[in-house]
Symmetry: C2
Subunit: 227 residues, 2 copies
DNA sequence: AAAAGTAATTATGAATTCAATATTCCTTTG
DNA sequence: CAAAGGAATATTGAATTCATAATTACTTTT
């Protein structure tokens, strides 16, 4: 069943602006000029403004009445809140996955898991992260809960721009791998409660937040961000 | 019906359309006529179409390219998925609340709790539900996590139109009250793990889903819904 | 020179207009 | 009479235009 992907102009524009934010071409707190983006994308203001409203709903930008739009300025608390939420969603995905996942899907995740261990042994950080991500996505997909997946995806979008390849300390890395060993065991036993618990406690996200402390604003103030 | 002549027109219109959906004036699967709503609200198509796009992002309606918008048709699975998610979010709210809640806030919730028990003893269903809701909202507010609250609010919006005063069986009702006794105890001990667990397992939502089975479509098909 | 007030400019909010796609209704044909 | 085809109509998608609020630049005053 291939999903119908609707390609409206406004959705296209919204995605493009999302990319600009993710890649840092539009900076946090930066005022977004409608005219400038219209020229850049070659569209009129109508679909562009629709895109801005959608992006505001998705939490990537904020609209100030009569004063335009600006990229949301992520605070440390904001990112921490988001990660707490994502951890809870991952926990739920684990619980549900245990109920619905097929033997074949478990086998596929076991494959990924073993591959990840190989990358860990070789200390190949990037491939490790990539496979790690695939594992979590596979569990999420197996949860059989569309609403959950939609919400997780939205949260993921919001913080994409501050996710980066952090330098794992050996200690945290080995702990993360141990977590994954336990996850794999719980999944193969289909122990939903246990898998849920492990995923909620999985410290991967917590490390990221700690590392981010140096990267983004620590203040929570909403005061004007001048361009 | 008062016409709209206000600021943030698109947001106002979106809320009004949300109300129409909630109160059943716009039915699931029903085609939404732009012109009709424009006349009704006394606005042009521009803010109305912006509102439609926002509502689609919020999951209340769906847009079919070149074929207009329609109210999302909630399936039993869809509602169940949403409730599963909300239960997980409530669990997280409980965990976090234990960390951040003040003694005064706990006392206030204790007050609500006792009031609720009184309503239970008198079998006053409506007041019981109302106070029950306040308790859950208070815990959510105490979680100190804005992203969580925003997301919970969105999910709540989506299923508002199928929430109704269901007839509780005595058995389920007494169990729900017992759950609340345990919640209150866990909160007063600030036992975050326990409170989280109780809230996740709290069967209030599960009853609702069971009851809803007779009200909404059981089929999951996406086939055309004619007006 | 600094501050305040005001005109000029620019940007945003919303309505209207133009273009493309879908739907309806009527005619035609087997 | 049913089905197919096509013109007429209605609806949606997007650009443009008009109105209003905000910003800037400039003048005036102290």
């Amino acid at each position: 069943m291939t999903k119908i992907l609707q390609r409206n102009l406004y959705r296209e524009v919204a995605d493009r602006i999302g990319d600009l934010i993710e890649h840092g071409e539009l900076l946090p707190g930066e005022r977004i000029s409608e005219k400038q983006l219209c020229d850049r994308f070659g569209v009129s203001r109508t679909p562009l403004r629709e895109a801005l409203k959608v992006l505001a709903t998705e939490g990537l930008i904020e609209l100030l009445p009569n004063r335009g739009a600006r990229v949301v300025r992520l605070t440390l608390k904001n990112v921490k809140d988001t990660y707490d939420l994502m951890a809870a969603l991952e926990g739920l995905s684990g619980e549900l996955a245990c109920q619905y996942i097929s033997d074949a899907e478990i086998a596929a995740i076991r494959q990924l898991h073993d591959t990840m261990l190989e990358h860990y042994r070789n200390r190949d950080l990037m491939p490790y992260f990539q496979v790690n991500r695939q594992i979590h996505e596979s569990i999420l997909a197996a949860s059989n809960n569309d609403v959950l997946q939609e919400m997780y995806s939205n949260l993921s979008q919001r913080i994409k721009r501050v996710r980066y390849s952090k330098k794992m300390t050996e200690r945290y890395w080995s702990q993360a791998v141990k977590d994954h060993e336990n996850m794999m065991a719980a999944l193969e036993k289909r122990d939903s409660q246990l898998l849920g618990q492990i995923l909620r406690d999985h410290l991967c996200n917590k490390i990221e937040v700690a590392t981010l402390a140096g990267v983004i604003d620590t203040e929570d103030d909403k005061s004007a961000a001048n361009s």
